[in-house]
Each structure stands twice: as structure tokens, then as C-alpha cells.
Subunit: 564 residues, 2 copies
Amino acid sequence: MKTLLKNGKVVNVFTDSLEFTNVLLEDDRIIGVGTYCDEDADEVVDLGGRYLCPGFIDGHIHIESTMLTPAELARACVSHGTTSIVADPHEITNVCGTLGIEYMLEASEGIPMNVYMMLPSCVPATPLDEAGAVLKAEDLKPFYQHPRVLGLGEMMNYTGVIHKDPQVLEKIKDARSEGHLVNGHAPLLTGKMLDQYIGAGITDDHECTDVKEAMERIRKGQRVMIRQGTAARNLEALLPLFEEPWSRRCLLVTDDRHPADILEEGHIDHIIRMAVSAGKSVFTGIRMATIQAAEYFGLKAVGAVAPGYTADLLVLEDLDRVKVRDVYRAGKQVVSQGKIISFEEPMVRPDVQKAVRNSFYVDELTAGEFHINPEEDSCRVIRLIKNQLLTDEWITELDFGRNNGVDIERDILKLAVIERHLHTGHKGIGFINGVGLQKGAIASSVSHDSHNLIVIGTNEPDMALAANRIREIGGGNVVVSEGRILAEMSLPVAGLMSEQSARELAKQNLAVRKAVQELGAREGIEPFMNMAFLSLPVIPSLKMTTRGLVDVEKQCFVSLFVQR
Amino acid sequence: MKTLLKNGKVVNVFTDSLEFTNVLLEDDRIIGVGTYCDEDADEVVDLGGRYLCPGFIDGHIHIESTMLTPAELARACVSHGTTSIVADPHEITNVCGTLGIEYMLEASEGIPMNVYMMLPSCVPATPLDEAGAVLKAEDLKPFYQHPRVLGLGEMMNYTGVIHKDPQVLEKIKDARSEGHLVNGHAPLLTGKMLDQYIGAGITDDHECTDVKEAMERIRKGQRVMIRQGTAARNLEALLPLFEEPWSRRCLLVTDDRHPADILEEGHIDHIIRMAVSAGKSVFTGIRMATIQAAEYFGLKAVGAVAPGYTADLLVLEDLDRVKVRDVYRAGKQVVSQGKIISFEEPMVRPDVQKAVRNSFYVDELTAGEFHINPEEDSCRVIRLIKNQLLTDEWITELDFGRNNGVDIERDILKLAVIERHLHTGHKGIGFINGVGLQKGAIASSVSHDSHNLIVIGTNEPDMALAANRIREIGGGNVVVSEGRILAEMSLPVAGLMSEQSARELAKQNLAVRKAVQELGAREGIEPFMNMAFLSLPVIPSLKMTTRGLVDVEKQCFVSLFVQR
């Protein structure tokens, strides 16, 4: 079946220019660009002078961070022109082990977006944490045979790389000996340490927050992935990279992006649009988002409008504003006038489906289980810092006789992290300052990177209610107060993702955020966002895990109580 | 073992710039670029402000065309900065079949130059020809497992590609399904035919002779290999490609280059030097010859001075003149002050060695075997065209009663092509105009692409003598006259290569050329060069094969005699 797309202004990513010409497709491929005519094709589409551009590639994304399944993410993203993503299923793998990778591969099969995978390199993120699985090199190895697996995901364990941890080096070796890539993640690493990290075979980074950092990486051979997500927004700082010689070593990525932002601002199109608004060339942005990403990842037939390439194509109404009208994926129209065309849900094998939908291995909790038996009056309290994921340690005296240490006047609430993967019964309980809740409790199954059950509350019964509700709905975010559920968003897939649409999810997310604001959350604090990082013992300085408080700098457990 | 190369002006191919800095090596790898000091290393080399540049890559070369073995080619090339070549052993494979590929792989193992291989795609070049082997897709397939095999060599059979010849498509499919490349060779192909050719998965071309042709290929996604060989010298015409956006899609290659040219002018260094002389940026040239070639061929750790890269490094005295002083290959110094450091000869297995050294399966020839029995007086004579490889057909009457048709006054000599691979006894005999010999005969085992034994002469006894001498020495070029051998160059490896040094070979080649000039060769004709293409029935219009004359346009055999 041959299709002629005629009268297009074709974006040529090899020459950064437009060609007013026709494009001939045969089934899923582009077979010609030039003076083809109606007679050459079975079907003719008149582009009416609109722009024809290769589909965009998001070079680094965690699907779980969108809280959408791959199919729902496609429904939200493809109409923004993203026809390929390179996903690291790090979060679901922390919950479900390799079954999480299998779920992601199966749940992304046949959707109108190419979903390539990088295998999660750091599960768990640290031995201080308790994830649903411990993934060794040999667990990852079989997945390299999958045609959509392109390498090893972001290597956060930079100390492991630098100190030549044999397990870490084995994972890198396996990826590279298959001809695959290893993604980097080493914020602020510089100089000789950076040389060691890069020298191990880690060829990109998406954590650059300033242009000097990015330029050092490019000089040393890495690709820089310019990230514009929901929390991390690095585009503005990295705009100088849109000039030569830097631009040819860059890709565009979202990393972590919430559904509301995708719906309201866009995806990769949004990044290009912002760069153009800042005075950069649209051709540079498109090149970063297409051929440069494809060639970096070794995708030989993706990222250009040229003979032999897969027909992943965007019809744009406006080039500089990157206004996507129609989208073709492998020659098949999947978006028409901005609307996604319905497609069949991917089939996930029942055992895989069952595994990701039953990710809570924890008994029902009672209020009493959130009670702390005081050993000393003086305690280590985690203190939130406005607009940051960093925390401080605050040592203060608590009155355990009154509400078991909770002190709403001084904004000291209770915090609990409950192991939910292996039914160990482990739980860490302590105190947190800076959230601002005046009453009630909140709970979530999204708590990086192990995604245990995390609860913050003003009282024990509400904490138990919130935690049990999360358990009941198989994961999500819940806000409760005085024995009532005020708002909830359910994330039943591994406790991380919903099967609802982006729009529905964004609505629920808004309701949850509103409810928690009404309980008194402080300005500059997003309770669920902040809570999601409270149990990640790699971000300084005091964090709570399933086995108690962790001093992040020292990388060891510390007692809640401080002897005077 | 750590080596510090300090006080260098390091050529950064990612940023097209110089960095005055130090480079730290560990064994074969670069492990750091920056403020490393003497204490960091076991050995310190002071570059004294000289330039440090990644080694050059020749993206397309036929080793056989240099007439040197891989080791001797390394001895000639590495001191010019070429540390990697991508070779297509098309010629030796036409003689020895897959044993030719094995020879090339073994004879290039461990030499101080990386020799990557592209598997010959067209053996024989055409079914009209008689090569030493017929290579099918299944014969090539096992070689893709070899770590130095990077793909399928130049696909000359463009009609096979366009008409979807199943054998041709299978070869392309095999290469690509292994993640490998397919080199192109489609001079002058344009428009829709070019789309079909590229669309089949052929991603480069080295046959562009003008910039318009090259730019069409780049627009359509191909890499253009800018060639500067001995016969084909395309650099001047393609100089505009050294500018953006074109330059980032180009490589530098030599294709076919004689030892004298390598010795006198250089290799890839010569191409960069010429481009700089023409006003182009040295950084652009170096980039084409290093990182761009490496990334195109999927060589992940080659082509840059950066952590993790193999330490293939050049110390240059002068950047713009690309004056190479020292060369490091995988961290080991292999050239010192312009002189190659001696290295061990590679080991070639005895059966492989025997196969390539016994490539003549033809009985001793008598003068009588060069006699033609006339059927008509009117004959088709091949007519050489000055400074071209093209030939014309000239129909004229010959006097067979006098010297069996040879007519020195009208410059009509006898030409014979004798099958030498399979002992078939096939031979084609006819006439040639334009060579100019007044007496004697010349013979060679280099006759593209099948490399049968080819002889041109003024008389039958000298033709037999020349042919038998070639047979005796196992291949080469010979000039005889009046029963005496005037000059010879022996090429005992498959009848194509010598084991002598480039210098020795260049000297012999000069002697042979001189001898043939003395026999009366015309101006604008290089008898051995022209003779080498007289039996290639893909270059128009009349050629001689082992089975007689071929009308190239019609692709069929034609009779020597023309009925009046």
C-alpha cells in the first residue's frame, strides 16, 4: 500500500532546511522524497503546504512518573508529536523486579508510540533501602535480547562506578558487550571523578543544571540530554547548547513529567517551542529531538524524512510553534487534527498483570502500630526545606505524653515508612517538620526509589486509615481527616500508575493537592512530592526508611532518639 | 601502566577546538583529560606544546589496491596518522573466495592499525565474469560474528537492489539484522532510482564526483565519503562539503591508492592537508576523519581524545600541515619521530597462507594458444580512450595473413584474458587499439574484478612469455620484449599483493612503468592501469572476458567477428 504525502514543506534534519516536495510511503516506510505524483500511490494526502517533520524522540523518561500506563501515555503524548520514547522502568522494577520490566515491555507493545527501554541499573538504589527486588547483572542480561531494549539505564551509583564495584562494572560490561549504551546520572560530578565515571563507558547525562557542567560533559564525549520535566526544568539554563558546536551533541528529554504538564504545556514539542521562543533555531531543536537521538541510540531507521526511514511523521500547522496536526506512526495515521485515533489495548500476560496489580504485601495496620515508645525526649526530626528535596536534621525535645510527640504548634508531625514488598513487617517511624498539616494524614505508595508505603499524619488513627486505604486500593495518594477520606487518586499498577486517562488523572491529582492544601500544607511545600523523596537515602541529609532514620552523608542508620 | 601525555594542545573533535591540557592513559585507554600531574602516572611524556589528535580513520579502502599486505600497508600508513581503516577485501575474495576474507582478517590481526572489514557484496561483480568464487548470502553470514567485521561492502549491483534481486536483498538484510551497515557504490544514480537504492538500506556512497550529486545523497540521509585516491580524486570537486550543514555527514576515504602516492603525498593526512590548503577548517577535516567515521561505523571507543576512548593518538608538529611526529595505537607508541617502530608479523594459518599463495590454476601457455582462427576479416576492436577507463567499440578489417591480425602501424594489438582460478581453460582473445606498444608484450594478474590473467602484446611468443612469467611468479606485472623479461613486479599474494615494503614496491612499479613506456605506450595511457579494467564488463562499452568480448550496455557476449 503506497501513500503519497504531497505539497509538504519537509523538514530535512540532515541539512537544517525545508524542502517543498512530496513524500512517498510504502506500508510502514518512506520510500521516496521528491517529484512523486498521484499515479505513484494508492492513496494521496494533500498536505496543503503544511510542514512534514520526523516524529520526536524523548531520550529519557520514566513512564511511571507520568503515573500513566504506556498506552495512556501514548494517548497523551503522541498528539504532541512524540512518536518514540526511551524509557527506564526503574520505579516499577523497584516494586516488581524483572516482572516490572516485562510488564512495561508487554504493555507498550503495539501502541502508536515506539517505546524503547533502558534496563534499570540500580535496584535498589542503595542497600539501605528495601525494594521489591535486588537486580543483579545476571537478572538484566536476558533482556538485552529484546529488540526494544537499548541499554542500561541511568547509572546513579557513581561511587560504585568510581570504586569499581564488580557488580556495577559487570552490568556496564554486559550492556556494552551487547553493543548497547549506558545512560548516566551524575549531577555535579566534575574533573577527575567525572573522567572516571565517563571512562567506565557511561556516555550521556540528563542531570546538567548549568551550562558549564554540560559543556564539560560534551568536551569529554558525553551526549547531554537537555531536560525539561515537571520538577526539574533545565532548558533555560542550557539554552546556550542550542548553538554550535554544542547542539550536535544534545538530545531533548523529559525524565519526570506529570500528566497535567503534558496536557497543558506539551512534551518534547514544548521544549522545542520554548527554545524557539528564546530565539533558538527550530531546526536545531528538531534535530536534537529526532536524528541525533536516533543515531545516538543506534536506531538506524528512525528520526528523518528520507528513503528507508520508518514513516513516523508529523504534520505541523506551524513550524516555530511546533503545532502538531496529524501524526503517522510507521505509516499509519494515529493522530488526526490533533486527536489521537483509538487503538487496541496491548495484551499483558495474566501472570504479569497479576504481579503488577498485587504489589502490596503488608497486613492491615492499626493505629497502635504508629505509636512510638519513647526512649529519650530528645529526637532527630527531619526538617523539610522550601522548594527543595534536601532535608535537614533538627534535634529537639518532644513531649511524648501529649499526642505521642506530635506537636502541631511547632509543625512536628509523625512520619512512617512501611515495607510493602516482602511482608517483612519492617517499619520506620519518626517525626517531620515543615509539612504544615493542621489535622488529618496523607499516605502514598509513591516513595522513591523503593516505593514502600509512606504516611505523614497529625494523629495515629488517621495515619492508619490513610495507610490502610492505600493498601485497599492497591496504591495511590490518599488524604484523610478525622476518620474520613477527603480525596484519593488510585494507582493500582504497582502502586505507581493508573489505567485512567491523563485528563482524569490530572483532575484527581488536583483534587488530592487541593485537599492537602486545605489541611494546612505550607507554601513552597508540595506534600506528596516532598513525601515521595523522604525515603530516598541518597539525597541529603536525614531520611526515613523501612528500617528507620538514615544519615545520608554517613550512609548509616541512626537512632530516632538522641542521648543527652 | 599509566602514561601521562602532558603539555599538549589537544584537538577536541566534539567542540572543534584546542585545549591546552594533559591526557592520562591506562594501558590501551584514555582515562582522563585535564589537570593530571606526573604523580598520577608511571611514565610521563612531555608533548612540549605539540598537538594531540585522535588517529585518523580511512572509511573505505581496498587494501589490495595498494598492492601491500595489511602489515606493509600499516608500515606505510600509520606514520601518516591512519590508525584505523575500514577495508573491503573485494579483490582477494574474487580470487580466493571466503579464504580471501580469512586471509585479510588474519593478516591484519595485531598490526599497529585497526583493520575493520566490510564483506564483499558482489563476488563476482557480474555473472558475465569468471571469478574464483561465487559468494552467496550464506557464505558471508558467519563472518558477521567477527568483531572486526562492520557490515556489507560497497553494493555495486544497483540494478539488483532496485529490481529486488532476492540474493542481493538477502545480503543486505543479513547485514542490517546484525546491526551492521551496508556501504554504497552508485555513481551518478539520482532521483527516484537513488531513493530505491538508499531505501533498501544502503547508507553511504564514496563515488560522488560532484557536489550536487553529494548533496542529494546527504539530503536523503546517506553519509558521503569524500574520496581522494590514486585514480579517483574527488576532493577538489567536493570541497563545499567541508562547510555546514554538509560536513557533519561526511567521511574521508582513499578507496584505491597506490604505494607511491602514500609515500609521497600521504594518506588521510594528505586529504585534510589539501582541504586546509583550500581554505577549509582543519577541525572539520579532522572531525570527518575521526569521530564522524567512528560513530557512523558504530565504533564506540574510537575517534576522540576523551575518557573511555582507545588511546589511538597522533602527536602533530603542525596542525594545519597535519605533520605527524609520533603515533600511539591502543596506548602503545608505534611511530616515533615519523618512523614506524618494528612490530611482529601477524600469523596466518598455513592453509590460508597456502590458498592465497597458490592462486594460479592454469597450465603453461604456448605461443600458439594466442593464435586466432579468422572467421571474417572484419573484427570488433576495443578502443582505449585517453585518461578514461571507458572504451569504445571499433569495427575494422584486419589482415590475418600478417601477424595474425596485429597491426602496429594502426596500433592494433592482441589482447587475451585467461581464466586462472578454476582451471576451466576458458580464454578470450581479441584486439585492442590505443595502447601504443611498438614491440613486446605485457601481462598482469590484476584485472578487475575477477583478476584473471590478462595479456596485451605485439606478437604471440612474447605474449606467451609474459603470461607464463606471471604464472611462474604467482602473479604480478611483467613487461617482455623479444623473448626477454624487461621488468617485473611480483604480487604473489593472490596475484594482487606483495609482501615487500611500500618503498620497494613503488620502485618496482616505477621500473615496470618505465619499461612499458619504452616499448612505446601512448601519452594519456597507463598500460597496466588501463589493462586492469579491460576485463571488467560493467564499465562501458566493449570489454574482454575469459569467455570473449562483452557488449557492456547490452550485458551480453558478442562475437569478435562481424559479418559484412
